[in-house]
């Protein structure tokens, strides 16, 4: 019964998410809007009896407000002149470029905006320091083909173009849909967890070993070294490391095991100090806490490594925790710790450093397992619910990847375009 109900929930969830994904597909599968204002106009029609220049003139010259920006940009596009043959090379090509000019409302003369090289049929006018582009102001644009000896074809003019700022970036609607969909899935599983549904979470060896590692340090009478990585406090991996630090500090407070937390970033130091102080308070030993347990070293990468290695060699901690984001110093830390005989537990989302930690540490928490630490150690239903939501999202991503592969094979590029992040 439970299994059928869970399968039904999965089915409904997958249906809802796929529906949400196809809404923007339907919204975006429409004809592009015509130019906002103005109309293409040949201002200098060829006099009767005279032949059109062999260069021709660029067709379908459009000038529109650049979409999804903060304004002050006009997007200009045109088709190449019939005389433009880029394959002939610069010298042989009869077309030497496309001259684009702009006329503002207060200006008497056309201002040259750019001369695009042959073969290019696009330009984004962002204004210049001398002739800035302003929002909500009418501009006229004209394009002329430049040939040998400055022979110009008849100009094509677009009148009354206005640049404006937009309130919503429609290019990112797919990201918004994904975020909302994921949020819905997250809330769904959190509510399920709150209702008392049992949620299975597989064993994570590195997190199970935390208690054992703390116990080892307590028995040996040696300190525990905890490093929160080399990123700042805004990084998710650092927050996850601080979470684990809180749990470790709570245990060290109860067992009265010395704790050393050297920090690379001063902001992380401040957060870590608060975390450890609170943990010691909750552990019933607020007097055992000292600010010297959690200290700042340096923001120099190898200076930090040298200092921590020195601490390891002098203090000889029994347990080393490396939680957070690391760079090249990971192996130096782990090998030095291994030399001192410490049990080492590492957890990082840095894919380049994982192999080094795996070879040198006793336990390694890989990638998202680090983020799961909070849920895994606390076993709170709300936290466990979020883990299930992550797993469900991974299934959806797998399905979408297969869909993308099929779409690419069959040439349904509109499906692929749905997932391009701009």
């Amino acid at each position: 019964m439970g299994l059928r109900a869970e399968s039904r929930s999965w089915g409904i969830g997958i249906f809802l998410v796929l529906t949400l994904f196809f809404i923007p597909a339907l919204a975006s599968a429409k004809e592009p809007a015509p130019p906002e204002s103005g109309e293409a106009k040949v201002e200098a029609p060829t006099p009767e009896g005279e032949t059109v220049s062999p260069l021709g003139y660029p067709l379908n010259f459009t000038a529109v407000d650049n979409p999804n920006d903060d304004g002050m940009k006009i997007k200009l596009t045109w088709e190449l002149s019939p005389g433009d043959q880029p394959e002939l090379g610069k010298k042989e090509n009869p077309v030497k470029g496309y001259r684009v000019s702009r006329l503002g409302p207060e200006e008497a003369e056309w201002q040259l905006v750019t001369v695009q090289p042959p073969g290019i049929a696009y330009f984004l006018d962002e204004g210049t320091e001398e002739f800035p582009l302003e929002n909500d102001v009418l501009y006229d644009y004209k394009i002329e083909v430049v040939g040998e000896g400055e022979i110009l074809s008849p100009p094509i003019v677009q009148k009354g173009i206005v640049s404006s700022q937009q309130f919503f970036n429609t290019d990112r609607i797919n990201i918004l849909v994904c975020v909302i969909a994921y949020l819905c899935i997250l809330l769904f599983y959190i509510f399920r967890a709150r209702k008392g549904h049992e949620l299975f979470v597989r064993r994570i060896a590195g997190l199970d070993a935390v208690d054992e590692a703390i116990g080892r340090a307590t028995e040996m009478g040696r300190p525990i070294l905890f490093i929160t990585g080399l990123h700042d406090v805004a990084d998710i991996s650092t927050i996850a490391a601080i979470t684990i630090l809180g749990k470790v500090a709570r245990k060290t407070a109860e067992y009265e095991t010395p704790l050393l937390v050297p920090n690379y970033d001063p902001m992380v130091m401040l957060v870590a100090q608060e975390t450890v102080k609170q943990a010691y308070l909750e552990g019933g030993h607020p007097d055992a806490y000292s600010d010297d347990m959690v200290f700042f070293l340096t923001t120099s990468q190898f200076g930090f490594v040298a200092a921590v290695d020195g601490i390891m060699v002098r203090e000889k901690p029994a347990t080393n925790f490396y939680m957070g984001y690391y760079y090249a110093e990971s192996l130096i830390l782990a090998e030095t710790g291994a030399d001192t005989g410490a049990i080492q537990i590492a957890g990082t989302d840095s894919v380049t450093q994982l192999p080094f930690f795996i070879t040198s540490c006793d336990y390694t928490i890989i990638g998202e397992e680090l983020y799961a630490a909070s849920a895994y150690l606390s076993k709170e239903p709300l936290q466990l619910g979020s883990l299930k939501a992550q797993d469900f999202a991974k299934v959806i991503i797998g399905v979408l990847m297969l869909t993308g592969i099929a779409a690419t094979l069959f040439g349904w590029m509109w499906v692929v375009d749905l997932f391009i992040a701009r």
Binding site: D70, F168, N169, Y182, A234, I236, T275, A279, I397
Partner: protein, 233 residues
């Protein structure tokens, strides 16, 4: 209130920055730039607190005459020498302008300049002491990789043997001698890095990305509060 107010601030700012990502309007961009400036200012103040923490800890060790007090002395001395040199850095120039007159070429003078000028004592300290020390620490990696490889790459199980063979191919393939032995070795090394290795990396990165989103949403929604401090119970 001590926990509710930070959670509320976090929720408001988190939602605001998510919404800002989708709004290209200049007001939204201006808000984003202002928030970034606030962050930089707060981090700068935090640096001051970090330095105070470092100084206090080492001065305490010096005062108490703790074991290894000498290293604390070196740390404090280095910190203050660098600070003073940076503030009052000077360089010897071959001429300078004094009250509108240019002193001749042979007259060596001292002019005060900010510490980051090329050739200043501060930059000399950085270029000739700090950079070589950093390079020394970095070079330890070569030896540690050798010792870690020797310890780890043992053919005890099938997976360990696969790891050993793959590691051998990739290591030999990345050095010129691999090409000299056979041109297939660098090609095989590249194949291993581009195919199975990349597939595993991407799998981990997908998981990391989802985990990061989940963590961020939990923090914004107030479900994850461990960052406020404490053991979370």
């Amino acid at each position: 209130m001590r926990r509710e107010v930070p959670v509320l601030i976090c929720a408001i700012m988190g939602v605001a920055m998510i919404i800002q990502f989708f709004i290209p309007h200049p007001v939204s961009q201006a808000i984003y730039k202002t928030v970034i400036k606030w962050f930089i200012i707060i981090v700068t103040f935090a640096m001051v607190l970090g330095l105070l923490s470092l100084t206090r800890m080492h001065l305490t060790k010096l005062r108490r005459g703790d074991k290894d007090w000498f290293f604390s002395l070196v740390t404090i001395s280095s910190l203050f020498v660098n600070l003073l040199v940076g503030f009052f850095s000077f360089r010897i120039t071959d001429s300078f302008i004094f009250e509108g007159l240019k002193v001749p070429f042979n007259f060596f003078t001292i002019s005060f300049a900010t510490g980051l000028a090329a050739g200043s004592p501060f930059m000399n300290l950085f270029d000739y002491i700090q950079v070589p020390m950093q390079a020394t620490m970095f070079s330890l990696l070569a030896f540690f990789i050798a010792s870690a490889s020797f310890r780890t790459f043992r053919a005890r199980t099938v997976e360990a043997t696969l790891l050993l063979v793959a590691a051998l191919i990739v290591m030999v393939g990345r050095v010129p001698v691999g090409h000299m032995i056979s041109t297939s070795i660098p090609a095989l090394s590249d194949w291993i890095l581009v195919n199975p290795n990349m597939a595993a990396k991407r799998g981990i990165m997908i998981g990391v990305g989802l985990g990061g989103i989940s963590m961020a949403l939990k923090i914004i929604l107030g479900i994850e509060r461990s960052w406020l401090g404490g053991g979370g119970e």
